[in-house]
Symmetry: C2
Subunit: 147 residues, 2 copies
């Protein structure tokens, strides 16, 4: 039973959970010989859903900031998984695309991710997920900047 104190140390639990999730992703990719981090996969996933979006859009969709996305896209391009093309109408922006290799890598890793997600939610229910989402969103909202 949780301690009945008004100041709850939820951060520590969130921290250790996200850490073990990242480690499991990394290990699972390694096991199928894919050189990809969790965060790199997140961007591949965004691109799979909306190929050709800008880095800014990638950032918004993945809760990352612009510099981080810039650097991860650099890495993905170096690995040959994505490529950048300038917008014609706005030369400040890039469209980021999955290459053939990027699409293949996504196809190869997606089932692994699905398996990881199932593994992570083992012994938990759909109702638990609703509860989980409500709590996570509430904490997030509580800390959001008041406009």
């Amino acid at each position: 039973m949780a301690k009945r104190q008004s100041a709850k140390n939820f951060g520590a639990y969130i921290d250790r959970t996200i850490k073990i999730i990242r480690q499991n992703y990394l290990k699972a990719f390694k096991e199928i010989n894919v050189d990809l981090t969790t965060e790199q996969w997140v961007l591949l996933d965004s691109l799979h859903q909306s190929d050709g979006i800008s880095q800014n859009e990638l950032a918004n969709g993945s809760f990352k900031n612009a510099p981080t996305v810039s650097r991860i896209v650099d890495l993905l391009c170096k690995k040959g998984l994505t490529e950048r093309k300038r917008f014609e109408s706005d030369k400040r922006r890039y469209k980021v695309f999955l290459t053939k290799k990027g699409k293949d890598t996504y196809k190869k890793t997606k089932p692994v991710v699905v398996k990881l997600r199932k593994k992570g939610w083992k012994n938990l229910t759909d109702e638990d997920y609703d509860f989980f989402l409500r709590i996570m969103n509430q904490i997030f909202e509580n800390f959001e900047e008041k406009k």
Copy 2:
């Protein structure tokens, strides 16, 4: 209502939540002119509870690995908040202590952290916390290495 699919993308929510928590801690410390990160505070807190423990014990208690603790303790020592003393009986180990300044800093920041924890749990109940702990611990357990 959450999507009824067996592979639930819980990671993204955990990720964005831990990020906004860290940002709030950092900002709150800055506002009271304390130069301290969230993770540095976590170690101060451990030391406040058990002054003189080793870096290994610090690591275990904070879900950090040994290299990370080593580097954070370096920083804390540079800031004059902690000091290392060798064990007499085991010269591989250090005992890490809070200095006077470290204790003062802890006293100054603790109320701020309590306030942040309350802020983060706004509109959530004790029962929510039990639920939250159960779900977080279950996810963690699901990903833990089978011995």
